[in-house]
């Protein structure tokens, strides 16, 4: 079992991260592990989350990473209580996207296309395309693969408006 400090340690070792802290947040009736990261240069939450999953395994349990401007401090140490409430609030308001597996076949197929075209192992169904590292090349690849697999042609705008596996799957259903 991966511990919270191990997650924080892996995150802190990322070149873009100045410091990171992981905590447990209650969301939708379950406990989820969420990290806060203060950056020295911009890296997206989903990319950092995937970094941890790559280093510590897909089952490391980290559901999301929130980028914060400053880690809340108290007496020279991270203020855990303040951090937990910041994270809980961000999760509740949808500012911190949590990793979620596909819930049906369409989502599973769309996520597999994203994963292959973007060369990203873990694609959460709510992850934002650009935050996950998508670019103009992967847009074209995904659109072409969806046309092949679903027989449905998409234009770039339609794709960009959807921006997540879940919303794209809704268009395709």
């Amino acid at each position: 079992m991966v511990t919270l400090p191990e997650i924080s340690e892996v995150l802190s070792a990322h070149p873009g991260v100045r410091r990171a802290e992981t905590t447990i947040v209650r969301h939708d009736g379950r406990d989820v592990a969420i990290a806060a990261a203060e950056l020295s240069e911009y890296v997206s939450g989903p990319i950092l989350r995937n970094h941890v999953r790559r280093e510590l395994g897909e089952d490391s349990g980290l559901a999301g990473v929130l980028i914060v401007e400053h880690m809340p401090m108290a007496d020279g140490a991270v203020d855990g209580e303040c951090l937990a409430s910041t994270l809980a609030e961000a999760v509740a308001e949808g500012r911190c996207i949590l990793f979620e597996d596909p819930r049906d076949e369409v989502e599973r197929r769309v996520a597999a296309i994203w994963s292959a075209q973007m060369d990203v192992r873990s694609v959460g169904v709510n992850d934002d395309f650009l935050e996950l590292g998508g670019d103009s090349l992967s847009v074209l690849g995904i659109i072409a693969a969806i046309e092949t697999e679903f027989g449905r042609s998409l234009d770039v705008y339609e794709f960009m408006s959807a921006a997540s596996v879940r919303r794209l799957a809704e268009i395709l259903r």
Binding site: V43, L130, D135, S136, V156
Partner: protein
């Protein structure tokens, strides 16, 4: 399959040696045509000459006087092929500004070469450029003066090209694009440009000058995507119309100022534009009358507008039909997320005005932050060049006038565009610019610089009355100055600072 510029030009020339690469005009307006084979040979010769003189151990750049001529086009292509950083310069740059620009280059490059009109590189003294003149000196030391568009820590080691920016403020700046330039069939041209009716191998007319960012990048894309390029050597609206018709031009990029002047041509025939797949406009805000005029002329599906900062923060795109449904919008983000934030950095709801921040994938996960003081960033990767605007519920962006353009009349904000549009509505008026004129109690009032149609005559009082029928009292110009032409930058942006100095020189008449 990613190729060097040299290799790509050779490949295109081999595949279609007799197809036209370039059409230009000499000073007698005689047509000059180069096939792809001829063009590739000339580029190879000039690139060879450049490589022969450049000292590999000294950081060097080449300056190409970039009028829209065949030698300029060949010179730029040769520098890119030789992988020597190229600075396309306005050949008509006033000496003081030229010295300032060369001085900026001299800070980064040990050796400079000037490509002469015979395409022979001549050593030039960058240090002679010395320091920028007074006025520019105040910010001369700031990184904003010489910014990397997306350069890494060793950003000046490999530069593909350099462009002068800041033309509308009057303070010379140069931005560097990391290099070397490469041809990547999946990325050339960029996806956003491919959304605007662009076709590989198309016939393109370049109207704006090659030393400006938008025409320059359109030229690079054309070069790498085997276009036939027609170079209009100077802007005359009836000539643009004629060139589109004569060469069956398929793709055209214009500024709002070009668009306005073309619309003013009598007997404009939509049939003359039948070959055009798209007209893309960029660079400056377009007034609604001009936009509608072009939508009427071409139909909404062929009119595209791109809003994007030169610094590469992000872009929005809007097609004519979307614009008709939402007049005034600059469109939705294209591979760009947009956030409108208040002064405290919190997101504002749809419909509320704030500072426009954008984020693009090019910046995500990269270590090379844009090194420019003019750009503000958020911890989560959004950046702004300071434009204000609002988003509607569907994510369409509407821009407000830039702060420095808004005229503050005793606390009331006046959008110069609105005043200018009202003035242009008068039958005697060809063009107009509204500026702030200092005022003892109100801080400033609106002043108008007006260009009359040839042979037209109008009294100032009549213009004021005309505005009074269209504008609220505080927006009516209190000073009118008649001028021969509106000073515009190469990008078509009004150079208000040139008009402001007019006032200081007492050229204004109440």
């Amino acid at each position: 399959m990613i190729l060097s510029v040299r290799r790509r030009i050779a490949d295109v020339a081999r595949a279609a040696p007799d197809r036209t690469a370039l059409v230009g005009f000499d000073s007698h307006l005689t047509e000059q045509v180069l096939t792809w084979r001829e063009f590739a040979d000339r580029v190879a010769d000039a690139a060879g000459a450049l490589r022969a003189v450049v000292d590999p151990d000294t950081r060097s750049c080449v300056v190409v006087p970039a009028g829209n001529t065949l030698p300029a086009a060949i010179g730029i292509a040769a520098a890119l092929a030789a992988e020597v950083p190229v600075f396309p310069m306005n050949p008509a740059t006033p000496p003081a500004e030229r010295d300032a620009l060369l001085g900026l280059l001299g800070r980064r490059f040990g050796h400079g070469y000037l490509m002469d009109d015979q395409l022979r590189p001549q050593r030039m003294d960058l240090a002679a450029g010395t320091e920028p003149p007074a006025g520019a000196g105040a910010v001369a030391g700031g990184p904003g003066q010489f910014s990397a568009v997306a350069g890494g820590p060793g950003q000046f080691g490999t530069v593909a090209y350099l462009l002068a920016t800041g033309a509308s403020t009057g303070i010379p700046k140069i931005s560097a694009r990391p290099g070397p330039l490469r041809y990547d069939p999946a990325r050339t041209p960029s996806l956003v440009i491919r959304q605007t009716g662009w076709r590989s191998g198309q016939r393109q007319l370049i109207v704006g000058p090659l030393y400006h960012a938008a025409p320059f990048s359109a030229f690079l894309d054309a070069l790498l995507d085997s276009n036939t390029v027609v170079l209009q050597s100077f802007f005359a609206p009836q000539w643009t119309v004629e060139l589109v018709r004569r060469y069956a031009i398929e793709w055209l990029q214009l500024t709002p100022a070009h668009m306005r002047e073309i619309l003013r041509q009598p007997d404009l025939d939509p049939a003359g534009f039948a070959s055009l797949r798209a007209m893309l406009h960029t660079a400056a805000r377009c007034d609604a009358d001009t936009k509608r005029g072009w939508i009427d002329l071409l139909g909404p599906e062929r009119v595209y507008e791109l809003y994007g900062a030169t610094e590469g923060v992000g872009v929005t795109l809007v097609r004519g039909d979307e614009w008709l449904a939402r007049p005034g919008t600059v469109g939705r983000g294209f591979l760009t997320q947009i956030r409108v934030l208040d002064e405290g950095g919190s997101p504002v709801p749809a419909g509320t005005t704030g500072t426009v921040f954008m984020r693009t994938p090019q910046r995500v996960g990269r270590s090379d932050y844009v090194n420019d003081q003019a750009i503000r960033t958020t911890p989560d990767g959004f950046a702004t060049v300071g434009d204000h605007g609002r988003l509607d519920r569907d994510g369409y962006l509407y821009l407000e006038p830039r702060d420095h353009e808004t005229i503050n009349v005793g606390g009331e904000k006046v959008d110069p565009d609105e005043v200018e549009a009202a003035l242009r509505d008068h039958p005697a008026v060809a063009d107009a610019v509204a500026v702030a004129v200092p005022h003892g109690t109100l801080g400033s009032v609106v002043g108008a610089h007006v260009v009359l149609n040839p042979g037209a005559n109008v009294r100032r009082a009549e213009l004021a009355a005309h505005c009074g029928r269209r504008l609220a009292g505080y927006k009516i110009p209190k000073h009118f100055t008649f001028i021969d032409q509106v000073p515009r930058s190469a990008a078509g942006k009004v150079q208000r600072w040139r008009l402001a100095s007019h006032h200081e020189n007492g050229a204004t008449s109440p």
